[in-house]
Point group: C2
Chain length 93, copies 2
C-alpha cells in the first residue's frame, strides 16, 4: 500500500472531522464522562481494528483516549488510516 502525499493527506483531512496530523500520524483525542465509557470506546475501536486488520496506537489516560494512526509497513499514512478513522467517527463523533 502506497503512502499518501502531504497534499493528499491535507485534502483527506479537510473531509474528516475531529482528526489532525500530529508527528506523522492521524491523531484524535476523545474525552468521556467516566472511565468505563472510555474503556467501552476502546473495545469498540479494537473490534474495528481487528475487522480491518489495522491496529492504532491507543492511549488510555483515565477518561481520555488518544488515538494515533499510521501504516507501519508503508512507512506513512495510507488510505487504510483514513478508512479506520472514518469508521471510528461512526462509533463516536
Amino acid at each position: 500500500m502506497q503512502i499518501l502525499s502531504c497534499l493528499e493527506i491535507k485534502k483527506e483531512l479537510s473531509l474528516l472531522i475531529n482528526w489532525e496530523l500530529k508527528e506523522s500520524n492521524l491523531y484524535r483525542k476523545v474525552c468521556f464522562d467516566n472511565y468505563l465509557q472510555a474503556i467501552d470506546f476502546v473495545n469498540k475501536v479494537a473490534q474495528l481494528a481487528e475487522e480491518q486488520n489495522h491496529h492504532p496506537l491507543l492511549l488510555i489516560d483515565y477518561t481520555t483516549v488518544k488515538i494515533k494512526l499510521s501504516t507501519h509497513d508503508a512507512g506513512g499514512i495510507t488510505t487504510k488510516d483514513f478508512q479506520l478513522a472514518l469508521t471510528i467517527n461512526k462509533i463516536k463523533l
Copy 2:
C-alpha cells in the same frame, strides 16, 4: 496519601516482579501473542482500576500493553501504585 521516598520505592520494587521505575512512574510492559489477548488484559486491568479507584496510564501498541502508574493527587508514587501493580501481577505475571 503520602508519596514514598526513593529508598522505600527501591525496597518495594525489589519485592515486585516485572515492574521498574521509569520517568517517576511504576512501569510494566506486557507482550501477548495476539491483539485480542492484549485487549482482554486491558479490560481486566480496567476492572481492577475501577475497583481500586486508581487508574493507570495504558498504552496499547498492537500486541504490547505498557502500563504507567503514579498517584497524581500526591505527586509521586504511593502504596496505591504498588497495590495496583501487585493485583495486575495476579492477573498476569
